[in-house]
């Protein structure tokens, strides 16, 4: 059993929902990024998603786009992010997934990406522009070593829900709204029906992400799902904080608050 499965099993036994935190790797720079991520872990996140920045992040809203541009401007590369994971892995057992776009993986080489990710301590990947229809080669290369989490959206048909639920490993990433990533004021009314439909077709853990920005929303979502995914809200906090100390302090407080509410 890998780290992701173990974590969800453990939380389920405790009757708890996973807090899944997304952060762009190497953001706001390579020095500070490991400190921020460590503080996210220490403040109670259960699962980490670490982004590899990409020039054309078309599933992302303005917040993650800016983080991606900033990291690229800092010169952050795929090996840098692997190295970041390697260093985190030395003293953390938290499940770590890489989230990035397919061209980054494809260009690196499917086998090489799998090897390097696995050897540095990555447990799985989330690729927002790779639906199962295009994933055969990737799954063939990675299946022994990395879980691939597929995404479902409110627009997914019943047929696709079945297909994707069956293809997804680790958990199923349900996009809470019809749109791109980014903090939103309120959540979609149709979310409970969508999640119920997913849950009726699978026993795999279901994570919900996109648009979740407050501990109150996280609590609402935790009633529906096995995992609550928060990303843009964390990056917004880092953007707003003036000093490094403030960035770490604000992010830690936010994660602790969310964890407590859930």
């Amino acid at each position: 059993m890998n780290r992701i499965d173990e974590k969800f099993k453990l939380l389920k036994e405790k009757g708890k929902t996973a807090l899944i935190a997304y952060i762009m790797g190497g953001y706001p720079n390579l020095d500070l990024s490991p400190k921020i991520i460590q503080s996210i872990i220490d403040s109670g996140a259960d699962v980490l998603e670490i982004g590899i920045p990409y020039s054309d992040p078309l599933a992302d809203g303005p917040t993650i786009q800016r983080a991606s541009e900033k990291a690229l401007a800092e010169g952050v590369t795929t090996p840098d992010v692997f190295n970041l994971v390697k260093n985190l892995r030395e003293r953390n057992n938290i499940p770590i997934l890489i989230m990035t776009y397919y061209n980054i993986i494809f260009h690196y080489g499917l086998d090489k990406f799998t090897e390097d990710a696995f050897n540095n301590g990555v447990d799985g990947v989330i690729i927002p522009d790779l639906p199962p229809e295009e994933a055969d080669l990737w799954l063939e290369a990675s299946k022994e070593k990395l879980d691939t989490v597929f995404l479902l959206a409110p627009t997914s048909t019943e047929e696709r829900i079945e297909k994707i639920a069956s293809a997804s490993k680790g958990f199923i990433y349900c996009v809470s709204l019809t749109g791109v990533t980014g903090a939103r004021e309120s959540l979609s009314n149709s979310l409970p029906d969508f999640i119920a439909s997913v849950k009726s077709k699978t026993d795999k853990p279901v994570g919900i992400g996109f648009g979740i920005s407050t501990s109150k929303q996280a609590k609402e979502i935790s009633e529906l799902a096995d995992g609550v995914i928060i990303g843009s809200a964390i990056i917004n906090l880092i953007e707003k904080s003036k000093t490094e100390e403030e960035q770490i302090k604000n992010v830690s407080e936010f994660i602790r608050n969310v964890r407590r509410e859930m």
Binding site: L58, E69, F106, L130, F150, R160, T178
Partner: protein, 399 residues
């Protein structure tokens, strides 16, 4: 008929290229579009309506014109121009937007979005949206807005909202990212009219099919005028829609097909838009094709004096045609394009779009070395009124 004529396969692949590399949110809409297209493409009422508008509104068929003075000047093969610049709105782009808006109407979509580089596709989209009374939003990079001001104004006059895109390189690639993000958000009410043979399946197929009319007319016209097929067809390639349209009916014949990419400041300078000649396999905007990218798969900024060719990707079927050697791809620099822009204006009284000027420029390399009984057809994909500012700047005129 050879297998090429049956591509893409049912998942939208052209060999290893094409496909649907998009967020899950869009998968249902792509399927809906594909089903609608498959239903209507052979539907008599749809075809009749499209033909009616193409004839009476767009002004098709566009002429195939013998450029006698240019032929004499270059002193070799006989040169014909397929006059897509004479189509309504001044470029071939409207062939596709007209087809797609008729599909959008049948899908019950009330809102139209599009990306644009040179502004020709934006204008062509705003035009058909105005004609059918649909809301229209056009995404355009800030840099392109600055260099294509006349087209920005045209879109606004036509009632479209032009949204400036300031991310990344602030050009066509970023406009397309933003249009996709809009579509992900508003997919239930909105139809996205992609302007080139790029993007996720079924777009490359749909746009190709709506542009094939260029090649079909060309074939009939040249057979009527010369009683034979041409020897060469030359067209510029950015995303690749005008070239695909004129090439397609001539694939697997003896006609040599030449696609002209933007060599920008030179193919060896790294500042160009030549994805097929200098790029490598990768995924951009929903399909696998050739892209300009760095060693880590970050998409590179393209460079061309022509906004319509300033794109770091190319339609997936072009990638396939390159690998199969069905088309030869070459590069023309900014400078050569500007020279051709002047040349065609002076010898034929036709100011070409800077995109099309790339195809014209290649005649200097091709025509003089051929005997006078050979025939070359150039797709003159658009007119150059939109480019006068850019050209004036390069030529040292202040307007």
């Amino acid at each position: 008929m050879s297998p090429e004529f049956f591509l893409p396969d049912k998942e939208g692949h052209y060999g290893e290229y094409g496909g649907k590399y998009v967020p899950e949110t869009l998968m249902a809409a792509l399927k809906e579009l594909e089903e609608a297209y498959n239903k209507y493409k052979d539907d008599d009422e749809f075809k009749e309506e499209l033909n009616y508008y193409l004839k009476d509104y767009v002004g098709r068929p566009t002429p195939l014109y013998l450029a006698e003075r240019l032929t004499n000047l270059l002193g070799g093969a006989k040169i014909y121009l397929k006059r897509e610049d004479l189509a309504h709105t001044g470029a071939h782009k409207i062939n596709n937007t007209m087809g797609q808006i008729l599909l959008a109407k049948r899908l019950g979509k009330k809102r139209i979005i599009a990306e644009t580089g040179a502004g020709q596709h934006g204008v062509a989209t705003a035009t058909v949206a105005a004609m059918f009374g649909l809301e229209c939003v056009i995404y355009m990079g800030e840099e392109d807005i600055a260099r294509q001001a006349p087209n920005v104004f045209r879109m606004k006059i036509l009632g479209a909202e032009v949204v400036p895109v300031s991310s990344g390189s602030k050009t066509l690639k970023d406009a397309m990212n933003e249009a996709i993000r809009d579509w992900v958000t508003n997919v239930k009410t909105t139809h996205y009219i992609i302007g080139s043979v790029a993007g996720p399946h079924p777009y490359p197929m749909i746009v190709r099919d709506f542009q094939i009319i260029i090649g079909k007319e060309t074939k009939e016209q040249i057979l009527a005028k010369e009683k034979r097929m041409p020897d060469y067809i030359v067209a510029c390639v950015g995303g690749g829609s005008n070239s695909m349209g004129i090439f397609y009916p001539f694939l697997n014949t003896d006609v040599k097909l030449i696609g002209v990419e933007a060599a920008g400041l030179g193919l060896e300078t790294g500042k160009h838009g030549a994805s097929l000649e200098k790029g490598s396999k990768g995924v951009l905007h929903g399909s696998m094709s050739y892209v300009l990218q760095d060693e880590f798969g970050q998409i590179q900024e393209a460079h061309s004096i022509s906004a319509g060719l300033d794109y770091p990707g190319v339609g997936p079927e072009h990638a396939y045609m390159k690998d199969k050697s069905l088309v030869t791809y070459v590069g023309i620099t900014d400078k050569e394009a500007i020279d051709a822009f002047k040349l065609l204006s002076k010898t034929e009284g036709i100011i070409p779009a800077l995109e099309s000027a790339h195809a014209i420029a290649y005649l200097n390399n091709l025509a003089p070395g051929l005997s006078k009984d050979k025939i070359i057809i150039v797709n003159l994909s658009g007119r150059g009124d939109k480019d006068v500012q850019t050209a004036a700047k390069v030529m040292g005129f202040s307007l």
